[in-house]
Structure formats: C-alpha cells, structure tokens
Subunit: 529 residues, 2 copies
C-alpha cells in the first residue's frame, strides 16, 4: 500500500465482475499480407484497409498520419503485422501498426479523475483484468480545493490552460508510473474516463463558466471519442478516449458510472445510490425511472471539517470503538503509524460510539457540559497533543449528514414512494468503500436495511471506466442511463431547507426508519441501567 | 488571358454539365437553436449535435477542436448560427460554425495538380458553378521536370519534404489569388483533387519510391478524406480533401477523372480516351470493361522536343497553315506578340501542313535534301533569328506520336476488338483542348472518326475534381471506375517495340484507317499536278 491513499482506489472485487463479451474501444488484428507482385499489386494502404474491413465487418478509415510508416513496416516485418483499430461507433479507424504478431499486447487505461484524487488503471484489453494502478492527488488542488474555486480560476487569464495542464500533468505522471519506460506508453491504445462534468471540461480545455451560472448548461455532456493526442494524454496519439457522458453540470460521468456499476437501472426494485466525495450525488430509481440530485457535500468524509481531520493517510485514525459502559476508546491508524489526525471512517466510528454511549444525545450534542472528546491522548499522538472531536466538529459533520438525509427524503417524497420500498443501497466512492457499515447505519448516514442489501461499490467511477473501455454494450448502456435520469433541483426547493433543519438527528428524525439502531440503543441502555 | 498558360485550364463548357443532384463534400445548415433555460438545459454541443443529426439523418461527430468556440458563438449570435458538416461517407463531421445565416456563402476548391501546371478552381457549392480560377507552374519543376527525376529527388535527405512544400506553396499561392483577403480562405470548407499518383504521394508526404520500382505498388491508391490542415492546405483546417482514387502507379486520379468526365464507362459503344501531357495514358473500353496503359510521353506536346519549342505562352506560334501549292506560311501567336517559339498546337499544324504540301513524306522526312523549314522569318521573330522546324525536331515528335499509335493499336488488338468498332474518341488535357482537330487527324495523332465523335474534354482532371466535390454519386462512380480498369503493361510487352518501330508513319502505318486524310492527300496531289 503506497502513501497516496491508494486505499480508496482499488476496484471492489464485488463489482469487478467479468463482462459477458469483450468489445474494447480498440481491437488488435494480426495481418498476414500478400507481398505485392504482378498478381496482387494493390497499394499497401489499400490492401491493409481491405483486409481490415473484411476482418472488422465495416468501413475502416486510415488517417494520413498512419500512411507514411506503413510501407516500411510492411517490408521490414515481411508483411506480418498487427493493426490496432478503434471503434468509432459507426466505423473503424486504424490507429497503430506494429511489426509481427503483438495481438496479445493490448493495453488500455481506465481513469477516474476526482476533484481531489486521480486514479489510473492499466487494463489488459485481451482479458479485461487490471494489471496495475497508480493514484495521486489532482495537481489542480493548488488552484483550489473545490469545484467552484477552480471554475472561478478558469475564468482568469491563463487559468483554464493552467488547470488543464495541471490535470494532464497528474495523468501523464501516473501513466509513466504504470509503465517504467516512457516510450512504451505509446503502446496504450485506448482510454476511458469517469469524472464529474467540471473535471471533464477542464481536461478538454472547455470553459466551465456556464456550469455554475443559470441555467447551468455545460459546453458538452457527451464529448464522444477524442484522440488522446488532441487532449494531450501521453499514450498513442490516435488512441480513442471515451468520457463517460454527463447528465448536466451537477451530475457527471462519475455518477452515470456509479449507476452503471450498481446495475440499479436494470432492477425492478427501487434502489438508492449515494456518492459523497467533495460533492454529493444521490440517485433513486429502478429500471423504469431514475431521479437524481446533487450538491456540494463539503469535505466531511475527507477529513476536512474537523480540527484534526485528515485524509486516510498513514497515521490517520481510521477505526474507533468506544465502550458504552466505560467510555474507553480503542482505535487503529492507517499503517499503524502514531496518530496524526482522524479520517472519515474514524469520525463516523467516533460519532456512532459517542451516540451509543450516550456521550452525545440524539441531536448530537455533548451531555453534561462536556466540550470535546479525546480520541488519542497526547502521549500517543505524533504531535504530542490530544487528538479530540469537538462540538464544532460534530456540528460540521452533522450538516453534511443532515443534507444527505434531507436530500434523500425529499427525493423519495418527490417521486411519491416510501422509504420502505427501497430494497438496495449502493454506496460509491470513498464514502462507499471504507466507512464501517454498522457505524454508518448507527448515525443514519446509511439506511437501516438488511446488511446484505447494502452494497459498497468502491471506486465505481474507475470501475465504470473499465467497463466502458472494454464493452460496447456498456458504452451504449451508459448513454442510455444519461438519457433516462431526471435531475431534481434541490436549491430551487424550499422544502429542502425545512427538511435540512429538521434532519440533524441521530440516526434520523424518524427513528422508526432505524429499527436496528433503536434495538442497539435499547440494548445499551438496558446494559447501563 | 493571363500569361500563365491559362488557355489550357479552362473547363470545357461541353463537359461542365450541370449535375443531377448536388451533394457536395460539405453541407451548410442554418440552425435556429433554443437558448438554454429550465425547460431545455441541454449542453450547447449536445444540442447542436442533436439538431444536426435530425437535419442530416445520421451520426454527427463534433471534434474537440470545434467545442471551445461553440458557447461564445451561440451566445454572441443569439443562437442563430450556421454549421458546416462534412460527409465522411458513413457519418457527418462538424467542421465549422459561424454566427448568423451564411448558408449561401459556401465554397470549395476543385484542384488539378499536373506535373507541370497546377490549377485551382473556386466552386460555389450552392450551385456548382466555377466562380474563379487560378493557374501556375508547379514549383516542383525546380526539382525536376519529369516524374522520375522528382521521385529520385524524393529519396534524397529532405527531398520528400521539399517536394511536398513546393506543391503546397504553389497551391496556397493560388488559393490566395482566388480570395483577395487571406483570412477568408478559411471559409473554403472542401476540396477535391485530380492528379497523377506521384503528385498525390508528394502532396501527402508519402514516399513515392515504390512507384517506379517493381512491382510498382504505390503507398496508397485511395487515400479517402483527409482534413486540409493535416495536408497543409490553407483553407478551413477540418475541410475534407478528397483525392480522386488512382488505379496504380501509372494510372492516377487524373485518368479516373478523365474517364468519369467522358462517360465512356457508361456507354455500350467502345470509346478511346487519350490524355497526353508529360505522361501519356490511353484507355479503351465501355460500360462492361476498361483497359488502360500508360507511359512517359515526353514533352512533345508541351513544346519541349523541338529546338524552338515552348509552352503556349505569349509569343508562342499556336496556329500554322502552309499553302500546299506555294509553301507559304500563315501563323498566329498567343496574344499576338512577336513570335518567340512554337507550342504544341503550332507544331501539329506545321507537321500536317508539311505533310499535305509534300514537303515531308509519309515517313516524315524532308524531301529533296531539305534540312529544316522556316515558320517565322528572322525579321518577324522576337529574337531576330529564324524560327524553324528541323528534321531532328520532327523525329522527336514522331517518337511520341508513334508511341501513342503503337500503344493504342496494341491495346485494341489485346482486347480482341477492331479499330472500326471505336465510336468515340476523347482527348483530355492540353492535348485535348487546343490541338487543331483536322491537323491532329492529318498526322494521325487523332483517329479519323466522324468529327462529331471526337470530343475534347479540356481539363478533365479539374472538371472531375469539380464533379466529385459536388456529388456523392460521382465519388462512388469514380471509385467504381478505379475498381474496374485493367492495367495493360506496355513495357513488359515485346510487341510494343515492334509496333512502335513500324508506327512512325504519317498519318499511320495503315492508311486505310485514315480515309479522310487519304482523300485530302489525293485532293492536294490532284491540285498540284
């Protein structure tokens, strides 16, 4: 495990299911050609095009950039060569040609560009497996932690260009890390990207200004296939890059990807999908309808709202348990390093523990005048001072949790269904991968469903990128999802503020919705009394 | 008439027939879009793509290069704009977007790249008319007059690049001449090119070495559509450039174009097509079969083989008549300037006159020990010395004429038909446009057919470029012709030399094939005696 919070980037085994049929964005075809002679004096390019058209069953376009090298490769390799063709949706395009049979060396990238973290997966396009991955912070952070700041920065002179090159630098650095020799990265011939709408705009050099200005229309939701060289990605210049389509300014390809990976759009039962990172997105629906809302979630789960908050890096307190009887604390840290702060999962554990111990009440307030709670005593902490959770920290966290609850409830009400009808809960992103399920249910961040109905999707944006990289069906499915989701505008809704204000209870305003938590509370109180 | 032998570049009215249906390489579509609002918040690019897909009835690709300017053009033009889309054969591609309704300003180029002369026609894509044209020598001449020299030059270090930039400089200079303001050339959104195989290779920067090396396979015969920016043409960078397909190293798109313009490939009768420029190509056939041969013709008709030979520039003797009784000469010059030399048409007239006057005999030899014949006496000539035609000049010309006759006869024999079956004769290029028909028949350069069956196609390569620029059917037709022509190899054929040696008679070895010439000879001799 590296120190670049790789914890949050591994594709969950649960969702990395084998695809029915591999139809990657690019295909490699071994060609054994006729050396030209009196019997067959077709031009080199024409012969290759004709052979490929037979093999691919459709029109094959040979770009001018490919033509000059074809004669020498043909002759140097004794007319045995391997062509890479890209699926353009309605035809094929020759994007690489290599001497000999290299059909088994076929690589693509699945890319997840988060506002905070960027992850690149090297995929074997022959069998769909992840060969390697690399993750790092998005270099754009230097120009603003959140999307709004970056969108503002983009409107300054040179701002858009510097944001674009920051994310490109991040990506190209990661690609190099996957392939020790830089020259070999040109053998990567396809890429798919899951990212929010703003990240896609900044990567493509498109002005994101309209994303945060009414009527909130992006420049593009579905950019189609773009040659890597036009974007600036250091892989084969003609490699097609597919961006998961967005639904709008606030629902990006990462969310479409999450839905795709969950499969909720193909189930008759109603599911709830929640992705909380720097932004939060909630989707409700089934095979017939999908409704979604979104908003800035704040960095609650990325450790940003508490005094001692930090990301899940070495030294972060990631698991906490509090004995309800004694109030004694047990904790662990990432990598077993001396504690430096508390990350999201540690905070959720802490809140659940404080609540079940009665140290905070249902409105998340400390009892008996207490002001803070010590998780790590000074002598165990790396800094030599107590690591604590204060009332202010808890209030900040409760704002995020309350917003999620309010938005979910509003969405459910709005479509006229009942929370009892929800049969699956999908948790995406860091939120989905590492939060302790029991604690998350205890504080009401997760719904109180049978635990088998709670599915953690891991990095569903990255996994969706892998799936669309490998499967034409999945690309069509993603576009189908994008066309099906109805966006529910929270900000325009006054009921949201009412719900938000009344949502700041542990686990929820309506305790009936949390029977298992009620049961544990009763247990604890029974034990105490 | 300019001094850049524009005489040879004007499209013959006879062949510049209106096309049944205009389906140019690019289409302009006026779009009146919905400004985005709560009811329609599609992304700008997506809305344009969807509207265009409805209008074009197929997939429309929006390249990344187009995306950044779309939002500002939409807003600046109050959502009234004109899109230019290119027909890629299997889909459409957005290549330009302009504010307002500019659908009536729609321009393309028809280009004829000859080894010697380059002509560019500005075409109104709304109605197919030629608005303007410009012609000049191919700058490549500085690197060699003939194809072989240029192919050799291309193999030297930097040679290919300098040949490519020479023809590009020529083209871009001519394009600027069509449009007084250089910036406006970006409004030209399509081009089609007729040229021989070597010219296309040099323009595209492809190594032509294999063209003159067995088994004579070009890099490409059918390059498909290439964006102008990738070639280096100074028009809209994404403008599609269509090259008329070649059949092989020695039969280029200019010949396919000639066949296309003649229509011989759609007639049940057998036609003969001859294009003699720096190279010569002969095609025989009908709607069922087409056989063609080719070879270096030498510059006989471009004025290069005679001591006083020159191109059809001001001061060139272009028409000559010799009184059979007195031997007196009447001549005219291009632009009525003092005579500087003799061009192809003047030479053909001279030979016919000398023959009919009995000054040269059927083997084209001067009678009675005469060594040369004065066309322009010293006191009328610009240089102050006699302009003459010598026996050596005549012999050189007879070599070209003999080669054409030998090749034609061999082709006819080879397909097992008889010269009496030929019902139409099509003469392309300079050879076709300006040679005096009667003189050309007299010396046997043209067959002795009813004069209405002799069709001069003018610049058929340029006209074919205009047709494929304007019509999808014509593009498919050109590709159909390319797939149908059988190449007949002259060099591999020992019968060719036999025929060649026996072909140097005026008008032909077999006088029975020239009944009208026989008649005139009899007339002249009757008058004389």
């Amino acid at each position: 495990m590296s120190n670049n919070n790789q914890k949050s980037v591994i594709l969950s085994d649960q969702v990395q299911s084998p695809l029915n049929k591999l139809e990657p964005l690019t295909r490699k075809v071994f060609l054994s050609l006729n050396p030209p002679g009196p019997q067959d004096n077709r031009a080199d390019v024409d012969q290759i095009r004709q052979v490929l058209e037979r093999s691919c069953g459709g029109f094959v376009y040979v770009p001018l950039a490919m033509m000059p090298k074809i004669p020498s490769i043909c002759r140097g390799a004794n007319w045995q060569l391997t062509a890479t063709v890209a699926d353009t949706g309605h035809a094929w395009e020759l994007i690489d040609i290599e001497p000999g049979d290299t059909a088994q060396e076929h690589y693509g990238l699945a890319i997840d560009i988060g506002t905070t973290t960027v992850v690149v997966y090297l995929i074997n396009l022959c069998d769909g497996t992840v060969l390697k991955h690399a993750a790092d912070y998005n270099d754009q952070i230097a120009m603003g932690e959140d999307l709004l700041t970056r969108i503002r920065h983009a409107s300054e002179p040179g701002g858009l260009a510097s944001l674009k090159s920051a994310v490109l630098n991040t990506l190209n650095r990661l690609i190099k890390r996957l392939y020790p020799l830089p020259t070999e990265t040109s053998k990567i011939t396809a890429a798919a990207i899951g990212a929010n709408t703003t990240m896609i705009h900044l990567l493509l050099g498109l002005d994101p200004a309209s994303i945060c200005r009414a009527p909130y229309t992006p420049v593009v939701n579905n950019p189609g296939l773009i040659p890597a060289g036009e974007i600036g990605l250091d892989i084969a210049p003609l490699a097609p890059v597919y961006c998961l389509p967005s639904i709008g300014s606030f629902l990006g390809g990462d969310v479409i990807g999450g839905i795709l990976v969950s499969g909720m759009h193909q189930q008759s039962d109603i599911s709830l999908f929640v992705d909380i990172g720097t932004n939060g997105e909630i989707v409700l629906g089934n095979e017939e309808w999908l409704v979604a809302c979104a908003g800035a979630a704040g960095p609650a789960l990325e450790g940003g709202v508490t005094t001692y908050g930090m990301r899940a890096e070495p030294g972060a307190v990631d698991h906490v348990s509090i004995d309800p009887k004694t109030g004694w604390v047990n904790y662990s840290t990432v990598g077993n390093f001396p504690a430096r702060g508390i990350c999201g999962s540690g905070l959720v554990d802490t809140l659940a523990g404080l609540f079940l111990s009665g140290i905070i009440n249902r409105t998340a307030r400390f009892q008996n005048g207490q002001k803070e709670f010590v998780i790590v005593p000074a002598h165990e902490a790396a800094s030599g001072e107590d690591i604590v959770v204060s009332q202010v920290d808890i209030n900040n966290f409760m704002a995020t949790k309350g917003a999620v609850n309010a938005a979910t409830d509003l969405l459910i009400e709005n479509v006229g269904c009942d929370w009892r009808e929800i049969s699956h809960f999908y948790a995406a992103g860091a939120f989905g991968q590492y939060l302790p399920i029991e604690s998350a249910v205890t504080i009401g961040l997760y719904p109180d469903l049978p635990r088998t109905a709670i599915v953690r999707l891991g990095n569903s944006s990255g996994e969706a990128a892998r799936q669309v990289l490998l499967s034409r069906c999945k690309r069509l499915e993603a576009e189908g999802i994008a066309g099906k989701v109805t966006y529910f505008e929270l900000n325009a809704n006054s009921a949201f503020m009412d719900k938000f204000v009344s949502s700041k209870f542990l686990p929820h305003t309506d305790l009936d919705r949390y029977p298992s938590v009620r049961g544990r509370l009763l247990e604890v109180f029974a034990d105490k009394s």
